[in-house]
Symmetry: C2
Subunit: 241 residues, 2 copies
């Protein structure tokens, strides 16, 4: 059974303020919670319905009713398990291989999809500007589908980070060089910007090579690609060779 | 001012049943409605707030109040304009160039993103299985960002469509050949499947070449890519040369 204190804690973690204060975040659903439990993330509290409890051999499970789960879930159809995990200590910056940098990405679904792409393409570190959506936002956790446990995510002032890094800096812009015609260095930093405004002016100044995904066909086309699909195409271009 | 009849019509169009019955669909927001007005789509009714009315020189505009717009909008912050458009007659099937085929894509956001990708990559026709989410669903219209006006979308029984088509049929599967190592024919059909189950068994039998986007790095990775990001990467691979 869920105590009042636990109910209050879980509801508070839907807000960024309390996630920062308690250094805890929520994850829901079998796939995401199981992947986090198998990772280095430390569980603080794992709640599940009785149907699910015998599938997981742990002695720290708290069995709750379907009704209790529904009362704390963000899903219209809750999926058997909800976990409260500790926010890990920020890793140190890695300055090897390909790092992905996000400058002001707002949409939680986009950030979650980008984390999943980093996981797929073996990108170990994602560096986000302080105004990028927080990666422990429940919608980001959900959209990342457990990839959050395998990608190190750091929030940094991008200007100082990029000034100190010695790798070439690629930036995705609408007016840049055709990415298909460039030999891309895998020891590099790749920057993508905000959904509406792209990469901020200050950061654009630090870019070594502006790259563009060209569009095809003759008629007037959509103005831009969604930031998550642009990230997919660019990571594929960097890693394909 | 909005009449009761108009109010009722607009609300009914949030349901597929009535979109099919009336052969009309809804679009909201400046960007999407303006792009549809500039296309071959025929408007049935255009409603906008007085702020916006002088920006658009049309005599068929119906001026409504902010409160009226809010009462019919699906947005929490409605964006000045709402249009009711006629569903166009289905174009004939094109059997030249690269066609994209979707087998059971469920999520409206994914379909909208894929329509936008077709627009970017100059893919003229998208062929969907009957169980793919309907392209005039308001969430699809929104996510497509106006690209709906530039991509022909047809719902067909895929088995008979693919049996009659003479082009090679590529299918995106988790176990297929490394797409980066293949020479891809641009006179072809590319099939992507459902978010959870991929391409159905019946359709898999018709595929000429199964292709896979390989993952990178040594540690255990996410099991699959989101269907919209996989589409982005595959369309980029077909078109890049």
């Amino acid at each position: 059974m869920l105590s009042k204190k636990q109910f209050k804690l879980i509801n508070s973690l839907k807000k960024k303020k309390y996630r920062l204060e308690y250094q805890l975040f929520l994850a829901e659903g079998i796939k995401v919670v199981e992947e986090l439990l198998q990772s280095n993330f430390k569980p603080h509290l794992i709640l599940c319905t009785s149907d699910y409890s015998n599938k997981l051999s742990r002695d720290d499970l708290l069995i709750i009713s379907d009704k209790e789960l529904k009362s704390i879930s963000e899903f219209s159809t809750p999926n058997q398990i909800l976990g409260v995990f500790k926010i890990p200590n920020t890793d140190s910056l890695k300055t090897r291989g390909l790092s992905l940098v996000l400058d002001g990405v707002n949409d939680p679904g986009n950030l979650g999809t980008i984390i999943r792409l980093c996981d797929w393409f073996g990108i170990e570190q994602l560096v986000c500007s302080p105004n990028t959506v927080e990666c422990y936002n429940p919608k980001v956790v959900q959209a990342s589908m457990g990839s959050l446990s395998r990608v190190s995510i750091i929030y940094r002032d991008l200007e100082s980070f990029l000034r100190e890094d010695t790798r070439p800096i690629y930036g995705a812009l609408l007016k840049g060089e055709n990415v298909y015609q460039k030999i891309l260095n895998k020891e590099a930093v790749l920057v993508l910007g905000n959904e509406s405004n792209g990469i901020s002016k200050e950061i654009q100044k630090l870019i070594t090579l502006k790259v563009t995904i060209p569009h095809f066909g003759e008629i007037k086309r959509t103005e831009s690609l969604n930031v998550a699909t642009a990230t997919a195409i660019l990571l594929s271009e960097f890693m394909r060779n």
